[in-house]
């Protein structure tokens, strides 16, 4: 088997959320930590779209930021195309690798500098990595990139505020492609957009993937979008991956009780007006997560073992009830 393009191994991140030192001294109280990501491992094959889904607070964006190197992990390692991203070794290799990794953010209003013209925004990676020489060559390349994402080369002289949300996200995509990136981390790229515009952006991302063989790490809370885009999916709950599976299998035969609940909760266009299984509870406070399997207070199959022992990720699912055969697993139709 070919070596995976990106390997994420036992990634951890804790945030110190303690009160200031003086307050701790005066009022008492100890240091407090929040485990945002707690031992996340997955591989991404070249040319595939790996998606992370989960509700707010599940740690999916923190994983994305650690993978691109925007946030140093508290533990674990990330290897992309054979180059370790954490640690001091091979900083030159890493520098070369950075050019090939880009990120697209959720809010196209915040991720583009409002004082820069679009052509300067798109040209920034080209200039930063010294990919082309001469203003003329750079301007031609920018025009090419803008055309690629469905804008007009003449749009380059405009400022971001002259564009709609969808068009701004196109600019962000053009910027990501400017350095000939091959791995793009997309953190909720369409969550701020209207559905018709979301469809335009998703289609564009697919076309670009087909054209350039891009690899995507796709973060979203929207299950339908994830199903549409992803080849493989990891479901996150309170900082851990509870289930990893191929995109189609996950939706046809979800194993983990949380995945099942999540799929049941999605309003479905086809069942207009029909009743569905009610679900209970909300994501618990991550500062003080439940012991054992963090999903146990909401899980209808929880027993004593679930309340005391963290289930390992085996065969793509982290659930004692599934491992013990207490839950019947639906066979993919």
């Amino acid at each position: 088997m070919e070596k995976p393009y990106a390997q994420i191994n036992n990634l951890r991140r804790t945030f110190d959320i303690s009160k200031p030192w003086l307050n701790r001294v005066i009022e008492g109280g100890e240091k407090q930590y929040l485990k945002a990501v707690d031992g996340v491992s997955f591989d991404i094959a070249r040319g595939e779209t790996f998606a992370l889904v989960g509700e707010s607070g599940s740690g999916k964006s923190t994983v994305a930021r650690m993978v691109v190197g925007l946030l140093p992990p508290s533990g674990g390692d990330v290897t992309i195309d054979g180059v370790p991203m954490v640690g001091r070794a091979s900083s030159q290799d890493r520098q070369r690798l950075r050019r090939r990794i880009q990120m697209i953010f959720q809010d196209p209003y915040a991720s583009l500098n409002p004082r820069w013209k679009v052509e300067d925004i798109v040209a920034e990676p080209i200039r930063a990595f010294r990919l082309l020489d001469g203003d003329k060559a750079i301007r031609e390349r920018v025009g090419e990139l803008l055309t690629l994402v469905g804008l007009h080369p003449a749009d380059g002289i405009k400022f971001p505020h002259e564009f709609s949300g969808g068009q701004r996200q196109r600019v962000a995509i053009a910027r990501a492609l400017a350095s000939n990136a091959e791995f793009i981390v997309c953190d909720e790229p369409t969550s701020a957009l209207d559905v018709s515009v979301q469809a335009q952006i998703l289609n564009l991302m697919r076309d670009l993937q087909d054209q350039f063989g891009l690899t995507y790490l796709f973060i979203s809370h929207n299950l339908a979008v994830v199903r549409h885009m992803a080849t493989r999916i990891g479901v996150m709950y309170l900082g851990r991956i509870v289930e990893i599976s191929g995109g189609r299998e996950l939706f046809a035969a979800p194993k983990h009780p949380y995945t099942r609940m999540l799929l049941d909760a999605v309003p479905d266009m086809n069942m207009a007006g029909e009743e569905r299984v009610p679900i209970s509870g909300e994501i618990p406070n991550p500062i003080n997560p439940p012991s054992g399997c963090t999903f146990n207070p909401r899980c209808p199959f929880a027993n004593d073992r679930c309340r005391s022992e963290v289930p390992p990720l085996l065969d793509g699912v982290a659930c004692h009830a599934v491992h013990e055969g207490r839950i019947a697993i639906a066979v993919a139709a």
Partner: protein
Amino acid sequence: MAEPVLSVRDLRVEFVTRRGALKAIDGVSFDIARGEVLGVVGESGAGKSVTGSAVTGLIDPPGRITGGEILLSGYRIDNLPPEQMRKVRGKRIGMIFQDPLTSLNPLYRVGDQLTETIRTHTNLSASGARKRAIDLLAEVGIPAPDRRIDSYPHEFSGGMRQRVVIALALCAEPELIIADEPTTALDVSVQAQIIALLKRLGRDHGTAIMLVTHDMGVIAETADRVAVMYAGRIAEIGPVRQVVQNPLHPYAKGLMGAIPSLKGDTHRLTQIPGSMPRLSAIPPGCAFNPRCPFVFDRCRVERPEPIARDLHPVACHLYDEAPARTESVA
């Protein structure tokens, strides 16, 4: 047929700016019957929230209602003086907004906020109002309501806060609830709980609900009828099954095709080229014509009125077999 709870007739709302009046709502008409949930969908800028604000009399200047009428159980409310409108709002119309944190006062316990509203609109005593507040919290599914009533809003999670807001909207047993994106700020698992709650309330109390959202899934689950809005007008209005599964208007068709599904296989989503026009530059004729794949000459000059074809009203010339009435092009 019984009189509708809410009847909006040819509503027009304009925002006066330095560059002239912008028509945010341009001739919108619909009814909501007792116990019915009307979903209003559309993309940002379609005018769905402004319609909700117009009904509640909460349009901020420079916006104003410039035409049409709004009837609540046959009683005209769009021209009431502010003092009287205040009595209608809260008592006869309940409101639920998108962000539950901004609709609650962070400095008061939720119990105080509930009892204040209850006592404003009914003549219950303080202890009676508190008892009713506890009943309401229990009804919207807040566990241990007799203890939670003395909590502050920040002590509740997002989903629980939205339940408190719903309880607040129910205080005076209104005939109509306007819910403006009530689940947009919530996670899917919590969203499903809030949807189930809204549906149950409509059924149990016979409350009419106007549900404004951009999420077609939420509409498909909750609404009885749905109005698809585009650029300040209703493009199509009809029973939810018909509109979701067999949309007639090209915009509604595009909108449904653009939504990724949890079933079936689609490599590409249907995409509508372009985006919603700005209010200052609404194209003449049918506002959708520059983006419409079926556009023909008539669409560019004559504005389509909603006409009932076969199933339900749709504002599109494609469904109007009669020849153009008059070529009154200025």
